[in-house]
């Protein structure tokens, strides 16, 4: 068996999500090749070559792949993928955008967001917002899979010594162009990779009040998240959203502040090791999943918490 992993990167550095996919590949078993498709991305390929467990790095460096538009990258992955039994990518927005297109070009199904490997062709994945776990067996010759990062440990970033090989002709489908981007700036750790996450919900009242939990976050070295209600109310940008339709996190400690605990939010955080809820409504569903619950007014409890850390 041979496994192709599509690397997640920004042309400068390899994103951590890729390391989780490498671990999933190790559980499937087989030679692991990592494809780095981008523009001016030699540094990423060198980084990928050092990842423990990677046998080979395929580098497709071309202007057509600069922004990793699915229309251009999918034909490349489908072409290279014919020689592999499995094609994996992290279940990030990039991976989710790309892999179904690859699968359709190969005329095979795609299995989304696996959380466990049961065998080379059998995987577990959550359905119904995480309220049920399905075990599915792939019937296709090539298995195209996205991997939920929080379900697999990260592979060691050092220790490997894979060869880097330039591959692939340029595919420019001419169907799409990159126009621009707005990147949210944050000095705190990335949500999906943070050891501690503290999130605010509608109970925060407004965006300014998020400063209260940011102070706690800084003391704990935590990332700051939000519920969909807080995002929809315009308190914070949507890339902070934790939930079924936002990011899926599984930190060691998750602190939910002023969050009721709707199904859609729980789907994004219920695999956290320890959950703390601070809410003034003692009937809030969040208390059913919280290991430690504090029924209190967040505007008093959160500053007090910050003071005691």
């Amino acid at each position: 068996m041979a496994i192709l992993i599509v690397a997640e990167h920004d042309n400068a550095t390899l994103k951590g999500a890729t390391l989780h996919a490498v671990s999933a590949a190790a559980q499937i078993g087989g030679d692991v090749a990592v494809l780095v498709a981008g523009e001016g991305c030699q540094a990423v390929a060198d980084e990928a070559a050092k990842v423990a467990g990677v046998a080979k790095v395929l580098l497709a460096d071309n202007a057509a792949y600069g922004h990793q538009l699915a229309e251009n990258v999918a034909p490349l992955v489908a072409e290279l993928g014919k020689d592999f039994s499995h094609i994996l990518a992290p279940a990030t927005t990039t991976g989710k955008n790309l892999l179904p297109r690859v699968a359709a070009l190969l005329d095979v199904g795609q299995i989304s967001e696996i959380v466990a490997v049961e065998g080379a062709d059998t995987f577990k994945r959550p359905i119904y917002a995480g309220n049920a776990i399905a075990t599915v067996k792939s019937l296709d010759a090539i298995k195209v899979i996205t991997v939920r990062g929080t379900a697999f440990d990260a592979a060691a970033a050092e220790g490997g010594s894979a060869s880097v090989e330039a591959v692939g002709a340029a595919h420019d489908a001419g169907k799409s162009r990159f126009v621009g981007e707005e990147v949210a700036v944050s000095e705190r750790p990335e949500l999906t990779a943070a050891r501690v996450v503290i999130s605010g919900g509608r109970g925060m009242g407004n965006g300014e009040n998020f400063a209260l939990i940011e102070k706690v976050a800084d003391k704990l070295g935590a990332a700051v998240g939000a519920s969909r209600a807080a995002v929809d109310a315009g308190f914070v940008p949507n890339d902070m959203q934790v939930g079924q339709t936002g990011k899926i996190v599984a930190p060691e400690l998750y602190i939910a502040v002023g969050i009721s605990g709707a199904i859609q939010h729980l789907a994004g955080m219920k695999d956290s090791k320890v959950i703390v809820a601070i809410n003034k409504d003692e009937e809030a569903p969040i208390f059913q999943v919280a290991d430690y619950g504090l029924v209190a007014d967040l505007f008093e409890a959160v500053p007090e918490l910050e003071g005691k850390l």
């Binding site: 049920a132 169907k175 949210a184 929809d232 400690l253 999943v289 430690y292």
Partner: protein, 249 residues
């Protein structure tokens, strides 16, 4: 320009799903079904494009048993012009869905196809991308803004780091994210009018598509239950527990 919108009938998002005792699947007998929320946003966007004079006709398509006509009628009540049901008692997988839709696209020749980014039952997030691959069109997934400008559609996408805007040559495929718009409610007169709007019924055989299984569902289980927690009385106690009991800070 004609806009094609897809809708899926799914378990209502407020209903907590139960797994069958024999673990073969989830139990969908006698539960409330509804229009998938992302599909509702897709219908709304299409209707807004029509109101803006960009779309000339909005065609809504759904795949499934006769019951999906209810969701097609809902979309018609929201402003779509006519419906197409592809009748099958199976729950086709994403690739089969995309193949059926590709045939409809070939017949209808829409300028834009709008789908939801994912259905809240299977949580796959695949059909739109697969349809784009099969039709060779550009794809604007997870859209939070859609602007048609001449021969191109500008799609602002919600990506992990923030927002990204891409320009796609028309015809193109767009999948909706939650923040694209706020869907309207259907008014009673519009619900009555929707009953008279045309609804074609086709079968996969009519479209020349054979439904094929790509996966086998072996088992469905409830997720691991979290052990019941405790309530603490003060911030002090909370910090003490996190330090000494849970050892996470």
């Amino acid at each position: 320009m004609k806009v094609l919108v897809t809708v899926k009938r799914v378990l209502d998002y407020n209903v907590k799903v139960r797994v069958k005792a024999d673990q073969t699947d989830v139990d969908l007998t006698n539960v409330k079904m509804a229009l998938n929320p992302f599909c509702e946003i897709a219908v709304e966007e299409a209707v807004r494009l029509k109101e803006a004079g960009i779309a000339s006709e909005v065609v809504v398509v759904s795949i499934g048993p006769k019951a999906v006509q209810e969701q097609i009628r809902t979309a018609l009540a929201l402003g779509a012009d006519r419906g197409i049901q592809i009748e099958t008692d199976e729950m086709p997988e994403s690739l089969s869905v995309a193949k059926l839709l590709a045939k409809v696209v070939a017949e209808e020749q829409p300028g834009l196809v709008i789908l939801g980014k994912q259905a809240i039952d299977s949580d796959n997030n695949q059909s739109g991308q697969m349809l784009a691959a099969l039709t060779g069109m550009g794809q604007g997934t997870f859209a939070s803004e859609v602007k048609v400008e001449g021969e191109e559609v500008l799609v602002t996408r919600e990506v992990d780091g923030g927002l990204q805007t891409v320009g796609l040559k028309l015809p193109a495929i767009v999948t909706t994210d939650l923040r694209l718009n706020e869907p309207r409610y259907a008014s009673l007169p519009n619900i009555m009018k929707a009953k008279k709007k045309p609804l074609d019924v086709k079968t996969p055989a009519d479209l020349g598509v054979e439904l094929r299984a790509h996966t086998e569902l072996l088992k469905v289980e409830p997720p691991a239950e979290r052990a019941g927690g405790i309530k603490v009385a003060s911030v002090e106690e909370l910090v003490e527990k996190l330090k000494n009991e849970a050892k996470v800070i």
